[in-house]
Symmetry: C2
Subunit: 209 residues, 2 copies
């Protein structure tokens, strides 16, 4: 928990049409504090405001409430996850290799940004309808479906249903990622080896069903 300093805000007020500049600054501050403290609840509105050199209520000029703020941070991070995976997948030699690389990249993203991953995948979305993070996440999932689809088209995954197979693959990969985040002290053995084993099992399993 980062206590507020109590010092008065010193940020020079934005010009007339530049209100959105603070908005970006707030999002950056929130994201940094999230990664520093390790949890959404531990990042207070006041701490974010402090870092932006602004008073707490100023946040509410740009975001409806705390959840909306973090939902937007979430959305940003989702896009980052997606491009992280897309970047890794470009090194693939064939569709099946690409699928494995995507899976491994997914896990490494989660374990290297555990708090972001928590926010994205393990958080509580409450009753929020207009969920931008969810939309970006769906895009990312659809990229995976396409990747599976390419495998099916080349026969690398047999005659599996791409959507169904994607659900299973995502679940499996997410499962290992989230458990390693939740229970870091569990005896997982060597991480990369476990991930590879998981990918083996999932792909072989999809192939033979």
């Amino acid at each position: 928990m980062i206590p507020p300093t109590g010092t008065t805000a010193t940020r020079t007020r934005a010009k007339r049409g530049d209100g959105d500049k603070l908005r970006e600054v707030i999002l950056d501050a929130a994201e940094h504090l999230l990664l520093e403290t390790g949890s959404q609840e531990a990042v207070s509105i006041r701490a974010i405001a402090d870092r932006c050199e602004v008073t707490a209520p100023a946040i509410y000029l740009h975001f409806a409430d705390k959840e909306a703020l973090f939902l937007e941070v979430c959305s940003r991070r989702f896009r980052e996850l997606d491009s992280w995976i897309e970047a890794a997948s470009r090194k693939a030699t064939d569709p099946l290799d690409e699928l494995r690389i995507r899976g491994a990249a997914y896990v490494s993203f989660g374990l290297e940004h555990p708090e972001a991953y928590r926010l994205l995948m393990m958080g509580r979305r409450e009753g929020r309808i207009d969920d931008p993070g969810m939309e970006a996440g769906r895009d990312s999932f659809l990229h995976m479906v396409e990747s599976v689809d390419r495998c099916v088209k080349t026969g690398a995954l047999g005659g599996a249903d791409p959507y169904q197979a994607s659900l299973v693959l995502w679940s499996g990969i997410h499962g290992i990622t989230s458990l390693m985040i939740s229970f870091p002290n569990f005896e997982w053995g060597e991480r990369d080896q476990l991930v590879e084993h998981m990918l083996d099992v999932l792909i072989e399993g999809v192939l033979s069903t």
Copy 2:
């Protein structure tokens, strides 16, 4: 969020050696409120105290802090999960059937007690060492290893390493459970069918690796 009533405590004070009775009452109240509100943060110490007809500081006579309280609720629930699975597994006809039943029971427990599952598996254990919930969870996991072991011994799972296979099976089953909890509005299709498919993939995958 359940607001405190502000009414004075009316609970008749426990007798000399019966301090632990309130402890149990507190745990029950916390568990109920957790299931009602849907999240640990939404259950305040004051709300728990209110329900027990006791003032808030009385809680701290029995628990070090809020986290310790919910950690104990967690531990209770873990044992419940374990016995839930054990009970279901008794209907099994053979080791492999038992493994499938255990998996399906695991998922159904999670989806029927989502908030408890969240607390158990998707929560943040902070830096807590003496984690009783973790201990009970480990026991439950070991029961699964034993079940896998029986499959291996009868040849139903080939020559797989029971521990490694259990890690993969647990991850897969947890993955599907936690994702369905986190994203209930996602297009999962028919739940039981997806779970069965997941079990097919995992078991076939373990068999052929």
